[in-house]
Symmetry: C2
Subunit: 329 residues, 2 copies
Amino acid sequence: MAAYAVLGATSWGLTLASLLARAEAEVTVLTRSAAEADSVNARRGIARLPGLVLPPQVTCEPARSQPPGLAGLVVAVPAQHLRSSLPPGPGWRQLPVLSAAKGIEHGTNLRMSQVLAQEGWPAHLIAALSGPTLAGEVVQGLPAAAVVASSGDTAAAWQRALATPFFRLYTSQDITGLEFAGAVKNVVAIAAGAAAGLGFGANTIAAIVTRGLAEITRLGVALGARVDTFLGLAGVGDLTATCFSPISRNRRLGELLATGMSAGQALTAIGEAVEGASTAPVVLELGRLNGVDVPITAQVCAVLAGTTGVRDAMSELLTRQLKAESNGL
Amino acid sequence: MAAYAVLGATSWGLTLASLLARAEAEVTVLTRSAAEADSVNARRGIARLPGLVLPPQVTCEPARSQPPGLAGLVVAVPAQHLRSSLPPGPGWRQLPVLSAAKGIEHGTNLRMSQVLAQEGWPAHLIAALSGPTLAGEVVQGLPAAAVVASSGDTAAAWQRALATPFFRLYTSQDITGLEFAGAVKNVVAIAAGAAAGLGFGANTIAAIVTRGLAEITRLGVALGARVDTFLGLAGVGDLTATCFSPISRNRRLGELLATGMSAGQALTAIGEAVEGASTAPVVLELGRLNGVDVPITAQVCAVLAGTTGVRDAMSELLTRQLKAESNGL
């Protein structure tokens, strides 16, 4: 029986642990502390993901030692904590590693696969997972499909390890595009949530999704991604699910900002990592460095910083003087 | 003051009449009968669009004579009735005409702009409108953005006539792509509605949207459309709004089919034209004639014909043996 480790007793980490276990693997979830491990082991899940009941093959323990005989490591911690959460030691660096985090690191502007490479993993062992995969739906067994990308051949191995009849996985070689799409869509979802919070409807959100897809594609292609990744599950698929689903945390942040809360108040109210809030300033910086216009990100950053109100930001976005469409191609 | 005629006292036709009137035009809505005109004139709207109150500049009358001094004609009747509803006489054929119908004609496989050309309008006077524009939201003044395409220069004139601060219009020259996207997205929305009706979530609908966008793009490009149209408001924008919004009629049809109703029962229950149901067999035929794979359309057609159940069709769509993504580019 294969064995895997999952770093992070997060909603998504535990969901992936369950999927690995369903494919008949032993799974060790690496937690931040013994107390967290005890709590998750005892309740077989976490309060914020009520649909999840961990199968018996999944056990949690603090991330101190390397379990023997592992076939791979899944990393599912918030993007800004990924580097500091990685388990120490060269043994882990010889395992295939799958990043399931969606964000870009502050200060370095690195994608998660780039952080893993800097932290000692060889490029051919690194893969990344993305797509429309709201954890609350996946744990209920509702059908979902996602993409695993790697420059080496580990994507196919992760596909075999994680896929179930209701969780379909496709492979790709465009890890750059997959990670950019997954990171930036969370920023667009904040704008979509703000529109929903102001009482706007599907027409408005669809317009933001469309402009957001163009923004993500422009930036991603400038940074070396393949355009067709943005038209796939990790691009338009993940973007639409996150922007339209009321259970998306990033969209929820936008909804709360629209009620007049400050970013700090809204993030406290949500009580979990909201990747888009951390990623937005990095995307703005990447746009500036690469000469790519990122108008949605710029407005989201201004609202998060408190320098623009939600209504003014939305008005700026919806009334830009564009006569002919330009969709990033 | 400019004057326009709108053919069709439909939800969308009356919404467009209101938008034209807001830009200070006199608008005549051409109805099927004097009784229909009297009814709409008396109640200043229609029962199925409760948010609409027609402004005084809009009056309805049966489509028998040509009002003098018109600047243009908007056609907003169901696609399958467009040809038979067109007002007779050469005078109308000298006016700029804007198709606001989203469908493809049975038997001829023609888009609405092609039907208008066959019925006597010169190509340079023909334009088409599409995008994420659920009428119930537009009449509430909720922000929306859409595209007007023409091969001549009438798109810019329609942009000036119809746009308001909350209804933004962009111009395009790809009338083929705009019309295909608008027609085929209604077929995909039936599949999305079926997924929603089976209790599936945003992950599943996002996967259908992604595969649907690839299907629309493949077919459209094979038929001469520009790929970037499918990434714009008339493509991904309209597709996402229609697939995710519970007020979309096409999605509603899918939801009802998922309850076990036959197509006939579901269409009767909705009581209005559901363009996707008429368009699906035409899209299937166009796919066959052009050697383009249209798997979502094929399953929607099978369910509508009663030869496949909704669960079997969904299972077929969600478990296709695709290992690497292919997004139509």
